[in-house]
């Protein structure tokens, strides 16, 4: 915790950009559950995190410690800025009409949105009130914590499955694989639309049997609309450095086009709709 350095105020990753200095000291206010939470940053023009144009809210707090994480500055809950749900929804409201015209919506990513269950539940509910499409990007590790009413306010789950092999999963994330698979099966039984995301890290997750395992697991699930192969990139490495953390992937190259095609091919031959 102490190794985390504060972000430069005003950087693109800092939600405080949107906060008035006149705002009350929200730390001191006690309100209903989930009225406040920790947010890292937001982006208004993502094309990739769900259908249409997305506002993506990055909340802080995550229990996984993926070795290639590109947002290590969101691991700890208090890395984020403490803001009210009302503030977040007001900000979202500024973009809602445009998002509706553009066939887009809100995606909550992180961090792990399920760490702040009550907070994100409120935000999703508020977004639904605006008529927006909603999506959550999650590892599924905390899937057991969410009830069906939480899921009912979410139109699409972007589910990161990092590996099909418990050993690899533990090596890569430091956690158990089982909760993620349980959550995936539950989403399948609810017929909840899912895009499975797989981060392809050379030397870490690119083993053909690892890929095949995920493909075999996902292929029968009719609710999975896409399997998205996300090539590893180095855009997060500056954060590891800034935070004084040891980064294992300093020299890991992005996967070659051939490797990406091989992996997409593996998913496709298992019967998945992959890209």
């Amino acid at each position: 915790m102490s190794t985390v350095q504060a972000l430069e105020p005003g950087s693109r990753h800092d939600l405080r950009v949107g906060i008035s200095p006149d705002a009350p000291d929200e730390d001191k206010i006690k309100d209903a559950e989930g009225a406040f939470g920790y947010c890292h940053s937001y982006e208004t023009s993502s094309r990739y995190d769900g259908p249409g144009l997305r506002v993506v809210l990055f909340v802080s707090g995550c229990l996984l410690r993926c070795t290639y994480c590109h947002n290590p500055d969101t691991w700890h809950l208090k890395d984020g800025t403490y803001v009210s749900c009302d503030h977040v929804l007001r900000r979202l409201g500024d973009f809602a009409p445009a998002l509706l015209s553009l066939g887009g919506g809100l995606t909550i990513s992180g961090g792990e949105p399920m760490v702040q269950l009550a907070f994100t539940r409120r935000i999703f509910a508020g977004a639904k009130d605006m008529g927006l499409h909603t999506a959550i990007e999650t590892s599924g590790f905390l899937g057991d914590r969410v009830d069906s009413s939480y899921l009912s306010a979410i139109d699409l789950v972007l589910l990161d499955i990092k590996s099909s092999d418990p050993e690899t999963y533990r090596r890569v994330t430091g956690r158990d694989l089982a909760p993620t698979l349980r959550f995936a099966e539950r989403l399948a039984s609810l017929a909840k639309p899912v895009w499975v995301r797989f981060t392809l890290v050379p030397g870490e997750t690119d083993d053909p049997s690892n890929v095949d395992g995920i493909a075999r697991f996902v292929a029968p699930m009719k609710n999975v609309e896409w399997v998205e192969v996300q090539p590893f990139h180095q855009m997060g490495s500056f954060k590891w450095k800034a935070m004084g953390l040891e980064y294992r992937h300093l020299d890991t190259p992005p996967p070659s086009r051939d490797l990406v095609n091989r992996v997409i091919g593996q998913f496709r031959s298992a019967g998945c709709q992959a890209r």
Binding site: S20, S45, G52, L102
Partner: protein, 756 residues
């Protein structure tokens, strides 16, 4: 202008108007009426388009060595002896056998002409910079016998205006070169022929005979006489090329040729900063449709006409000085052509020739000129919208302006002069006025009127900020006083400039292609809007400490409070409203002062590439911008501060009030090409939706670049690999490799929004 241009009888036009639906245009000079009665809107897609013809390719091949040479050497040739007029040079050709549209500015392609009527100093400085010797006889004529516009203006300027010019708070004023931003209705020559236009001008002149000779009436009589001589000269110029334009054009080829002659006459007579061509594509399409129906033209022939006209529009050249190039870099001349839009009946003015015009970017490759401007309406056919988005993706050569916003102001037959200045064709002109540096004005307010760099007292002495911290209300009150002074001085300078321009460098041909009684606007402009807005936001929401030099001049700022104050470009009302209120406030101040010829005051938020020069001349600002750092171009947020994606950035800019910036609000966006998994079709759908949203929310203008940073960086290193790499900067497009290194860096440092 039915009244002034009315004719007693229908002229004898023979078969020229065969098959055209008659209307008011038959009895008066009214091109708009001709278009709406005869245009054939097209709702299909681009599949009908044809390749470049052999003749087009032959002409183009002849021009390539010139382009290559020019990239290496700059100015290739100048006729330094002959002041340019319509009849100053004999006919010139590129490849006579293959040119179906003829006419050059001088007797050879890429040979530039001189325009000493604007100012001899500019001519001689331009010649020297290009490595040519000024001509002694021209020098003698324009020092001994003939006064220029430039001489006149400096006779009328006050010491205060001279100080403002020198300090850089007002820059780019057209006091030494052609003001431009006037669009002759060049289509009139094709539709009516010069005889008929002369007849209409004689009628307009006759109506003044009984009027009491006030200054204005005398001036009008003289101008009309000049206009008539210009039309006669134009007809003589066409004769040099073996064409008789005294009668209307009889077919598409003639209509293109007559229209181009009119434009060519204009650029032989005036070296305006912006020499736009107007809105010709749907007009000329009517002639093409008629010829297609008659079976005398096919699609390949129609495209050939467009390709060859565009070739001519790509080789317009003026002799400029290095100082001018710094403001408007890449040798632009803004041969702006408007495509699309709607008419007042609700029909789209999209024709097959709208497509053909865009298709020249494929047949001839991408290029900055002509400055193709899409008048975007959400009601235009979807197929055309998609084609525009595709062309943008492939060429980055288009700009977009909001027809739904402008049509209520300017009707359905306006053109865009330069980048963003709308004007009704043949019925309106503007007195161009460059821009003031509002960021510098803010610093003057803080320093009691002293220049933050030189320390000189430029604005009248007022009480400077005295404490250690800036107080919002105090700064605003001071800024208001400074803006009052600046607005007054600015209008003052503009009146002097345009009085003298009319007197010594009157655009007789362009004005001959206008009605006599027109709307004149006087176009003021501001630069540094986002710097001012962010600075005021920092003062209001942060705690800004000032640092003084030994003379007491405030030269730096430190925000010791909340550093993350709201910044323009994030759809945050707290700062966006500051930006909007500055636009309105300065406009109101401008409006207080009477203008030359009762012109209507307008204002633009546009910098072209001068945001770099302005930034260089401006000290540290309270928003944390360092001395010398470029401003955001036009109405753009400062580089990197619109940190939440293009949607937020667009929505901020869309809030700026067009009613108080009727000369246009420029906004440039660069997006990287799509990620692999998005299909081309999806991407184009998204882009079309994004345009609709931005313009529906009141956005005025968008320059769209689809290009990645790596390509630009590679182009700096290997310019020869990218001879046609075109990018849009504030309000126009340039060959990237012809920008100065500073401007190239500026373009790259601008926010790249990763996705669209």
């Amino acid at each position: 202008m039915k009244a002034s241009a009315a004719l007693k009888k229908e002229a004898d036009t023979g078969d020229c108007w065969k098959d055209f639906r008659p209307g008011d245009w038959v009895t008066s000079i009214n091109v708009r009426d001709f278009i709406v009665r005869n245009v054939t809107p097209y709702t299909g897609n681009e599949d009908f388009l044809a390749e470049a013809s052999q003749r087009t390719k032959a002409v183009w091949a002849k021009l390539q060595p010139y382009f290559a040479d020019e990239r290496k050497k700059g100015v290739l040739a100048v006729d330094a002896k002959t002041p340019s007029t319509m009849l100053a040079h004999p006919a010139g050709y590129i490849d006579r056998a293959n040119e179906i549209i003829v006419g050059l500015q001088t007797d050879q392609p890429f040979k530039r002409a001189i325009f000493p009527f604007g100012g001899l100093r500019m001519v001689e400085a331009g010649l020297k910079a290009a490595g040519f010797e000024p001509d002694p006889s021209v020098h003698e004529a324009f020092t001994k016998y003939r006064k220029s516009h430039n001489d006149g203006v400096f006779d009328a300027y006050t010491p205060e205006i001279m100080n403002c010019r020198r300090s850089g708070i007002i820059t780019g004023l057209p006091d030494a070169y052609g003001r431009g931003r006037i669009i002759g209705d060049y289509r009139r020559v094709a539709l009516y022929g010069t005889d008929r236009l002369l007849e209409a001008k004689r009628a307009e002149r006759g109506q003044l005979d009984d009027m009491w000779p006030t200054d204005e009436i005398i001036r009008q009589r003289e101008e009309l006489a000049e206009q008539m001589r210009a039309l006669e000269d134009l007809a003589s110029m066409a004769k040099l090329y073996g064409c008789d334009i005294s009668k209307p054009a009889t077919n598409a080829n003639e209509a293109f040729q007559w229209t181009y002659f009119a434009y060519l006459g204009a650029i032989k007579e005036a070296n305006g900063a912006a020499m736009s061509i107007g809105r010709i594509s749907s007009f000329l399409d009517i002639y093409i449709e008629r010829d297609l129906k008659d079976g005398v033209l096919d699609e390949a022939g129609a495209q050939e006409l467009w390709d060859q006209l565009v070739q001519k529009l790509r080789i317009v050249r003026f002799l400029r000085t290095p100082e001018y190039d710094a403001l408007f870099s890449g040798d632009p001349y803004w041969a702006t052509e408007c495509v699309g839009g709607m008419d007042l009946d609700g029909r789209a003015l999209v024709t097959k020739s709208s497509y053909r015009m865009l298709h020249t970017l494929y047949n001839l490759g991408p290029a900055p000129e002509p400055n193709i401007t899409i008048l975007w309406s959400k009601h235009m056919p979807e197929a055309f919208k998609r084609y525009c988005a595709k062309v943008s993706r492939d060429t980055s050569s288009l700009q977009y302006e909001n027809d739904d916003l402008m049509r209520p102001f300017w009707g359905d037959d306006y053109g865009i002069a330069c980048c963003v200045s709308a004007m009704r064709l043949g019925k309106q002109m503007q007195f161009f006025g460059a821009r003031v540096n509002l960021a510098k004005a803010l610093l003057y307010a803080i320093n009691g009127g002293r220049d933050e760099i030189s320390g000189e007292q430029v604005a009248p002495q007022t009480l400077p900020v005295t404490g250690d911290f800036l107080d919002f209300d105090d700064v605003m009150a001071k800024f208001d006083v400074t803006m009052e002074w600046l607005a007054r001085t600015y209008v003052h300078a503009m009146n002097c400039i345009h009085y003298m321009h009319d007197k010594y460098f009157y655009e007789r041909l362009e004005m001959a292609l206008h009605d006599r009684d027109i709307l004149r606007t006087m176009a003021f402009g501001i630069a540094g809007l986002s710097v001012v807005a962010d600075s005021l936001s920092a003062i209001k929401y942060g705690k800004v400490r000032v640092a003084r030099d030994p003379s007491g001049l405030i030269v730096d700022y430190q925000n010791e409070g909340n550093k993350a104050t709201p910044q323009f470009g994030n759809n945050d009302d707290r700062v966006d409203q500051i930006a909007s209120s500055i636009v309105t406030s300065f406009m109101e101040k401008i409006r207080k002062h009477p203008t030359y010829r009762n012109a209507t005051h307008t204002q633009s938020v546009l910098t072209i590439t001068s945001n770099v020069v302005y930034g260089k001349a401006t000290g540290n600002t309270p928003d944390g911008r360092r001395k010398g750092e470029p401003f955001g171009p036009g109405a753009n947020p400062m580089h990197g501060r619109d940190s939440h994606g293009w949607l937020a950035s667009c929505l901020s800019v869309a809030k700026l009030p067009y009613r108080d910036a009727q000369d246009g609000i420029s906004y440039t966006v660069s997006v990287a090409p799509q990620k692999a998994h998005l299909s081309g079709g999806q991407l184009i759908d998204e882009a079309v939706k994004a345009f609709d949203v931005y313009f529906e929310r009141g956005g005025f203008h968008m320059n769209l670049n689809v290009i990645d940073r790596d390509t630009l960086e590679d182009a700096i290193k290997n310019p020869d690999k990218y001879p046609q790499l075109t990018i849009r900067v504030s309000g126009y497009a340039v060959n990237f490799i012809r920008l100065t290194p500073e401007q190239q860096r500026d373009v790259i440092s601008r926010t790249f929004h990763g996705q669209i």
